[in-house]
């Protein structure tokens, strides 16, 4: 069963086409990694899934609900999809506890106790229970990103979107975030991850998508993607050789 279905999506900024006829889908429990050079449209594509970016052509369904349909209740749809951003985007004026509970209370209508319990459960899972009373600015980047993941999980999402969750982090903090993501994947969370962490892709991805200039150039099983490099497109091979050097 498809959890996220992207069908022939195209998007323009004025005359400039950012997405060209993108089609793919993510099944329930599947982990799909999206990679590609900077500016190729990865963030734009992943943001169309929860309607943070509108698109002009094509269709997207999340758990059967059409994202592009003007009648769709977008806040309700977004509340069911967790998203993790490159720059964490915790709410800096709210404590960690409030960051974890505010949307549960205001969007899902949970009561305080229930929201607290959920929030603390996930904060504990990412190993940061001791920091509940602090503010985001008092945590390291890696810690903030783990809180951001907990914030998304506390909403009981049916799928998670990650947009380069580790690329703003100092190298020594990358693993603490990736570990949480790996664990999540093993638990069967449906995930769509924009990332250049090929180690992560090798470990948990089911499929890998390669984008270039707004188009999906490769979309294949992980084993095929990494196992048969010679069968990949010229651009994908260039890209891989560049990032695998590091």
């Amino acid at each position: 069963m498809s959890m996220i279905e992207i069908k022939n999506v195209s998007k323009w900024y004025g005359d400039f086409q950012v997405l060209t006829d993108c089609t793919t889908n993510v099944k329930k429990g599947e982990v799909v990694v999206v990679c590609g050079p900077s500016g190729s449209g990865k963030s734009t594509l992943i943001k169309t899934v929860n309607a943070l970016e509108p698109f002009q052509k094509g269709e997207i369904f999340v758990d059967g609900v059409s994202v592009g349909d003007p009648k769709t209740d977008l806040p309700k749809l977004r509340a069911r999809i967790g998203m993790v951003f490159q720059n964490f985007e915790l709410f800096p004026h709210l404590s960690i506890t409030e960051n974890l509970t505010i949307a549960q209370q205001r969007v899902l209508g949970r009561n305080r106790d229930e929201a607290m319990q959920k929030g603390m459960h996930y904060l504990d899972r990412v190993g940061l229970k001791a920091h509940a009373g602090k503010f985001p600015g008092q945590l390291s980047g890696g810690q903030q990103q783990r809180v951001a993941i907990a914030r998304a999980l506390a909403m009981d999402p049916i799928a998670m979107l990650f947009d380069e969750p580790t690329s703003a982090l100092d190298p020594e903090m990358v693993n603490e975030v990736l570990d949480v993501m790996v664990e999540l994947a093993h638990e069967g969370m449906t995930m769509m991850c924009v990332t250049h962490e090929m180690g992560f892709a090798r470990k948990v991805a089911n499929r890998v998508i390669f984008m270039d200039r707004g188009a999906i150039v490769e979309d294949c099983e992980k084993e095929e993607f990494f196992g048969n490099i010679d069968a990949r497109s010229e651009r994908a091979r260039q890209f891989l050789s560049k990032i695998l050097q590091h």
């Binding site: 985007e89 800096p92 004026h93």
Partner: protein
């Protein structure tokens, strides 16, 4: 020419009832504060709404707010005051017009005019500060708020505005001080606020320098106290680790 310095003038009788000159200054200061505070509250509310409007998607709402700002920023305050005091009342619908022109005593109608004038004038400035504050936030903040399922209204209420207001406390403070200073135009339509009382004291007593010295001291102290108050507010709402707040 000889000038009779007399710093005791403030404790001398004005010759009107049992009032001493100091009473005039106290009552003037009272009017100044009453004008400025009420106008400020309205300006803050209206300015915030306009500031939010300027950052909304779409064309119509931002254009309305921009038009408002340009109109109220490019006409001198005194012209605006004359409009509210002399012109607008003549075009009010009937029950309101009689109320304003006949039922209100002159001091109250001057008060209403100057409060409306300063509130709308200052709202344009507050609007620009609020807009600047919202636009200074990382774009990802509204994306993150929408992503957790907030509506546009919730995004502004819980995420954007609390941060924007913290950023703009310093420029808002200076607008807050300005509204006290600007309230002195009320003296030109006969409201007996601080400047009008100062002028009256100078004319009655001929002790010009003493009267204006006291007035400047009062404005100066008022300024300092308000600034101290706003510093306190800023400290109180400061978030650890956010924008220079200690970790």
């Amino acid at each position: 020419m000889n000038y009779n310095w007399d710093w005791n003038i403030f404790f001398k009788s004005t010759g009107i009832g049992s009032e001493i000159y100091l009473d005039w200054f106290v009552s003037g200061l009272g009017w100044t504060i009453a004008v400025a505070l009420v106008a400020w509250i309205i300006a803050l509310l209206l300015g915030s709404v306009l500031g939010v409007m300027r950052t909304l998607p779409g064309k119509a709402l931002p254009a309305i707010a921009t038009g408002y700002v340009e109109l109220f920023r490019n006409v001198p305050l005194l012209v605006q005051l004359f409009m509210w005091y002399f012109v607008v009342p003549d075009y009010l619908p009937e029950p309101l017009q009689t109320w304003f022109k006949q039922d209100l005593n002159p001091a109250t109608s001057a008060y209403v005019s100057v409060v409306v004038c300063l509130a709308l004038f200052t709202a344009a400035r507050v609007c620009e500060q609020v807009r600047t504050g919202i636009q200074a936030l990382p774009k990802g903040q509204s994306a993150a708020a929408l992503a957790v399922g907030f509506s546009i209204g919730q995004t502004y209420r819980h995420v954007l505005l609390p941060q924007a207001f913290r950023i703009i406390i310093p420029p808002l403070t200076s607008e807050f001080l300005n509204i006290f200073k600007n309230s002195s135009v009320a003296s030109l339509i006969g409201l007996m606020e601080l400047l009008a009382q100062t002028k009256q004291t100078a004319e009655f007593s001929a002790n010009i320098f003493e009267a204006f010295t006291l007035a400047t001291v009062i404005y100066f102290v008022l300024n300092m106290s308000l600034m101290a108050l706003m510093n306190l507010v800023e400290k109180k709402v400061r978030i650890p680790g956010m924008m220079g707040g200690a970790k």
